[in-house]
């Protein structure tokens, strides 16, 4: 009649699973990389236009270990990302909560939000360039905008979708007002909120790269690195940059958001919307 709560998986098995997952993930890259390398070596495609993986990797090594330049670029990018995203997270959660709780505000702002969302974030950059100058602030503003909408929208949706019975249960136990909101509504909307955070960081990262490319006074940054590489016709550097962008975007999702999910909704058995 009684069931025991699930035991945590044995540590060895978890390690094995992690290693297997990494292997399966890397395999396609290794395969594609090998084919690619061979094609270049065989001379079927000119290596001037399409560099071989080995060349790209060597350049990556140069940029990161030998010159350390890559880290400078990344560091600067992360600095802007953190500020912009933190702002987006804070204001997105706040604004989203306010809108979810207050019908008047919601009806006032919803149409404006829908309209603003339809504009690609990058299109705002010229506006920022004119009003905020050509440096860091523009990029941070772009990062902020990228994340803000996704987080706001998903927060509103999450709170709206909380079951009425959950709210009733909380109220009958004496929770009301701010208490009700913080200790019940927010945790109950975790699934949507986390989706918003995940989408937000993706958009923010992309906005970062774009913003860096367009801001003339910005010297350092992964987006700028790619942009500048064009003036030297340094295709290899571009490839390195693109791979770094892709990899970072991927890691931000898997390491950051996924871990957050693990600690919250997966632990609580609130299955994701995947």
């Amino acid at each position: 009649m009684t069931t025991t709560p699930r035991l945590p998986e044995k540590t060895e098995r978890r390690w094995l699973r992690a290693v297997a997952a990494v292997f399966w993930f890397l395999l396609p890259f290794l395969l594609v990389g090998a084919v690619w390398e061979l094609t270049i070596r065989a001379g079927w495609v000119s290596s001037a236009s399409l560099p071989a993986p080995s060349t790209i990797l060597r350049k990556a090594w140069d940029l990161s270990v030998r010159e350390g330049v890559l880290w400078e670029h990344l560091g600067r990018s992360f600095y802007r990302l953190s500020i912009g995203y933190a702002l987006a997270m804070g204001s997105g959660l706040l604004f989203g909560s306010l809108l979810a709780m207050n019908r008047a505000l919601r009806e006032m702002f919803s149409p404006i939000l829908s309209l603003l969302i339809s504009v690609p974030t990058i299109a705002w950059v010229p506006v920022f360039l004119i009003t905020m100058g050509l440096g860091d602030s523009t990029v941070i503003a772009a990062v902020f905008l990228g994340g803000f909408f996704a987080i706001t929208y998903n927060t509103i949706r999450g709170i709206e979708m909380v079951e009425p019975s959950t709210i009733r249960a909380a109220r009958t136990m004496g929770a009301r007002g701010a208490r009700l909101f913080v200790s019940v509504l927010l945790p109950a909307s975790s699934v949507s909120v986390l989706t918003g955070l995940r989408l937000g960081i993706g958009y923010s990262w992309r906005a970062l790269v774009g913003g860096e490319m367009l801001s003339a006074m910005v010297r350092w940054g992964i987006g700028k690195m790619i942009y500048q590489a064009r003036f030297w016709n340094d295709v290899v550097a571009m490839f390195v940059g693109l791979l770094v962008i892709g990899l970072t975007g991927f890691l931000l999702d898997r390491l950051l958001i996924r871990q957050l999910e693990r600690a919250t909704i997966e632990r609580w058995g609130m299955v994701s919307e995947r």
């Binding site: 019975s165 959950t166 109220r171 009958t172 929770a175 919250t264 058995g269």
Partner: protein, 264 residues
Amino acid sequence: MTQNIIEIHGVSKQYGKGNRSVVALKDVDLRFHRGEFAVLIGPSGCGKSTMLYLIAGFESPTHGRILLDGNEIREPGPNRGFVFQDYVLFPWKTVLGNVMFGLRRTGVPHREAKQTALQFIEMVHLRGFEHAFPHTLSGGMKQRVGIARALAYDPEVLLMDEPFGALDAQTRKLMQQETAEIWKETGKTVVFVTHSVIEATYLADRVIVMTARPGRVKGIIDVDLPRPRQYTEDHYLHIRQDILGLLEEEIRQSALGTTSTLTP
């Protein structure tokens, strides 16, 4: 201290307006006595759950008043405990966290709340599961947490809305027995909604039979059998028949519109 802890005066509840309106309850007058175990029973749609929601304060009556201890009920509050059919536990809190929730909301300091919560967890036989998350528990266990949670902050009345409807037959029987024990131990006033006559006869001091929609009180049957009760004893079966008698006509009425969910 009044004898009648809950008084229901001329209560009606209507949903919607005009042609599309549904009258769930019409002119209901009831008194619940302090410390009794009252059961509301009736065909589907008779408004028994609505009645419970009104007492809980989740909704307001369209006409009439409901008094708890002489004060009119307007909102939900910690002087009533509610047990839902689908448990409605907070998935982000452990069993302990869930049971402590009401206590903390009513201002009880952490350490004391924890102690009290542990006692109630013990009472519902869930010792050892304090730090488990609800999604790892079975249905019966979840409902025990639900009961513990509702009792922990010492409400005046315990409201139970078909609490065992989602459980299998075996677990259900067990929960009925345990509920009877808990009631004996705590002496709370309980208003219990069900559509199982067996369940009603086993648990109740009084069974209030309601009519098909719009819901009214059809009849009240006193169950003065000694406790603990036996499901198969003569007198018990007798009372079951009485209740069924009242209900049959209502079931037929309600079956004309909806399918009956009554289990004799």
